[in-house]
């Protein structure tokens, strides 16, 4: 319909942002892992993490980790890209491993590291090989029983997707607030970072909520239920 004047920022970027964290970004592909149903991948994630807790010993933990690495190879998703977004998580695992080594010895540390790595890497692989809308469908199906307690499955799945999407926005907000504080010579004052970051996030949440409402997302069909006159902030003054 329209030619798009590409700016320099539109090209040459890596597919995964350094701050995209453990969420992963979808990497298109045709591998068996990509083609597997979203529900099956979520069940596999549940099984691997449960086995990591239930099975004791180094061999089982290493087998689980090896299976996850095999899945990466089958999916042809580069491990470096996924691990790059997990730096903070990997550091946390490292700290826990040192503590476990100190308390239980090397075998305990290896088992813990392998179990946690298997779970975290598999979670990243699930998001890297499953489009968000497919994940949304799967979550909506999984959330169907919640209808019985008055929750709409579509809204639950949308809320989870939004939560995942908001984490990188939160990181960017904090980094930009920190830079602004540094520019004003307030880099050492945590209030100068936390308060503006929090205000920006609230503003972002408000704007996203408004945009979702404008797109009619998560909205039930049928007539709008009647609202009390003071339930809408811009309807309250009548």
């Amino acid at each position: 319909m329209t030619p798009t004047p590409d700016g320099p920022e539109a090209t040459g970027r890596p597919l995964r942002a350094p701050w995209s964290g453990p969420l992963g970004l979808y990497r298109p592909g045709t591998s068996p892992v990509h083609r597997a149903p979203g529900g099956a991948k979520l069940v596999a994630l549940l099984v691997v993490t449960t086995l990591g807790v239930v099975l004791q010993g180094v061999p089982s933990a290493l087998v689980l980790l090896a299976l996850v690495l095999l899945a990466y190879a089958v999916a042809r998703v580069p491990l470096r890209g996924s691990a790059g977004g997990l730096t903070a998580t990997l550091l946390g695992i490292g700290v826990l491993a040192v503590f476990r080594w100190w308390s239980d010895g090397p075998a305990g540390a290896i088992e813990l590291t392998a179990d946690l790595l298997a779970a975290v890497l598999l979670a990243a692989l699930v998001t890297a090989t499953t489009r968000s809308d497919v994940l949304l469908d799967t979550l909506a199906r999984a959330a169907r029983p919640l209808r019985h307690v008055g929750l709409a499955p579509e809204q639950v799945s949308l809320a989870i997707a939004l939560m995942l999407r908001t984490v990188p926005v939160l990181v960017v907000s904090t980094v930009e607030s920190r830079d602004a504080a540094r520019a004003r010579g307030l880099g050492r004052d945590p209030r100068a970072v936390v308060v503006p970051a929090a205000v920006r996030m609230v503003g972002h949440a408000h704007r996203v909520g408004e945009a979702l409402a404008a797109r009619g997302l998560g909205e039930p069909d049928g007539p709008t239920p009647p609202r009390a006159a003071d339930s809408h902030p811009l309807r309250s003054g009548a």
Partner: protein, 246 residues
Amino acid sequence: MIALDAVHVTAWSPDPAGGADRVVTLLHPLSLRLDEPRVAVIGANGSGKSTLARLLNGLVLPSSGRVTVDGLDTARDGAAVRRLVGFVFTDPDAQIVMPTPVEDVALSLRRTHPDARERAQAARAVLARFGLAARADQPVHSLSGGQRQLLALAAVLATEPRVLVLDEPTTLLDLAWRAVVDDLVAGLEQQVVEVTHDLDAAGHADRVLVVDEGRVVHDGAPDEAVRHYRTLMAARASRVRDGSPS
């Protein structure tokens, strides 16, 4: 057809002096029929033009009076009205929910395309129409500001609304992208209501509303309306320079 009948919008506002909250008027009583294919709304910041735009798809509900689109009441039939009236915001980042363009457009198509595979194909077709096919799987943050605004438009137009409301869609864009977005909007089949500070864009509308301090102070042909707005703003700038309340 969009109809506003005796619409009045008010809100509670905190008293700066610490007293009880007071009622402020965002839009004074107003009746309008909007039939023209292209309607522009111009006015100063805080004049009420965005409130007027938000009334049209039920993002803001009138305190009294009613707004209807093709006979559907925005207060009573909110979901149906939002399917008829697409809305594009100034900042595309607030509007784009998913990490990649194809996923975001697919999100808009969830209601009309239950099958995931068909939905993905339809989303790619929409992106191709907007010249974004090559960006379909890239992370949204790697797109330029103009591409993001184009994506926001694509995601809204994917559902083929009958009316498109744009709230300053080009304010954050450079001249090249303004031209792209303006051309795209000009070629749409939908009725378009555009809030804008771009007087050139307003000049191409069939009808221009000038909003000031919560009132439509001029309603007419573009040349006359833009002239009225310039006079209004020149007088205000003069008052600001003189230090009198604007």
